[in-house]
Symmetry: C2
Subunit: 136 residues, 2 copies
Amino acid sequence: MGNLPEPLAQRLADSGLRTTPQREIVYHVLLGKRDHPTAEEVFARVKTDLPTISLATVYNCLETLVTCNLVRQVNFERGPTRYCPNLEPHAHFHDEATGKTHDIELPPAVLDHVKSVLPPGFDARSVEITFRGSKR
Amino acid sequence: MGNLPEPLAQRLADSGLRTTPQREIVYHVLLGKRDHPTAEEVFARVKTDLPTISLATVYNCLETLVTCNLVRQVNFERGPTRYCPNLEPHAHFHDEATGKTHDIELPPAVLDHVKSVLPPGFDARSVEITFRGSKR
DNA sequence: AGACCTGTTAGAATAGTTCTAATTCCTTCT
DNA sequence: AGAAGGAATTAGAACTATTCTAACAGGTCT
């Protein structure tokens, strides 16, 4: 579903950053399997293409992608941060039985309704909605 | 608004657990200043009443209170876990300028609307809504 | 009082992430 | 092309928040 080809080089350039093999491969790994991997998981996947990459670089690349708005960071409780290339507004459903995370499409109407609970003076830049439960 | 006096001893007993000075003081500290303190902050506050308490015990007590449903755990990104004695359904607003966290009342209608985004088969036990932004 | 169980404690251990300093790699500039 | 300078990468140390471990204390029940 509808992620544009790859604005990676463009987005990097817009922020005055270079396109490097490491950044490309990290990004492609995220696009390739959208299962909300942790940094360690990304590291493992990237190593098959680029065995010399270091974990620190994976962290650096992920952070870069996040600041370029190409990737979202997702946190569940105290678990490791997970990374998600889905840029559409969406909620997350965390299946407690399997540990898997599912993206849940978030219609604009719902998003607006949620934002309407904020009293005047509160200006939300982002909203994060996380379900926890089990899936049949 | 409207937290019952203190069901602490009762709730502990219900779970077959003892009422100890440590548990009482940790709970009272949370009720006393509802600013979503971290475990370290709770530790510091409790020490004024009970200087010999250990950090491990604070963690233990907090976990006990959470499992007795007297306290909620709140996480923002990678920051330390924060603790919140507000049991009403509510969202959190994280002010990026001050670092402060505000409880936002969550009307049942909004909660239902949010839950309605889940496709059939997804059974949510809990929903967590977090705003990030700034407050005038 | 003795046995038993729950809870507390200090400190070690762990997990995830960030920091540091050294090196490598581009990109200009001449 | 060669040199300078900045950006990116790397390995490993450091750090933070939390959990674990093992020993000890305190209350309870006979």
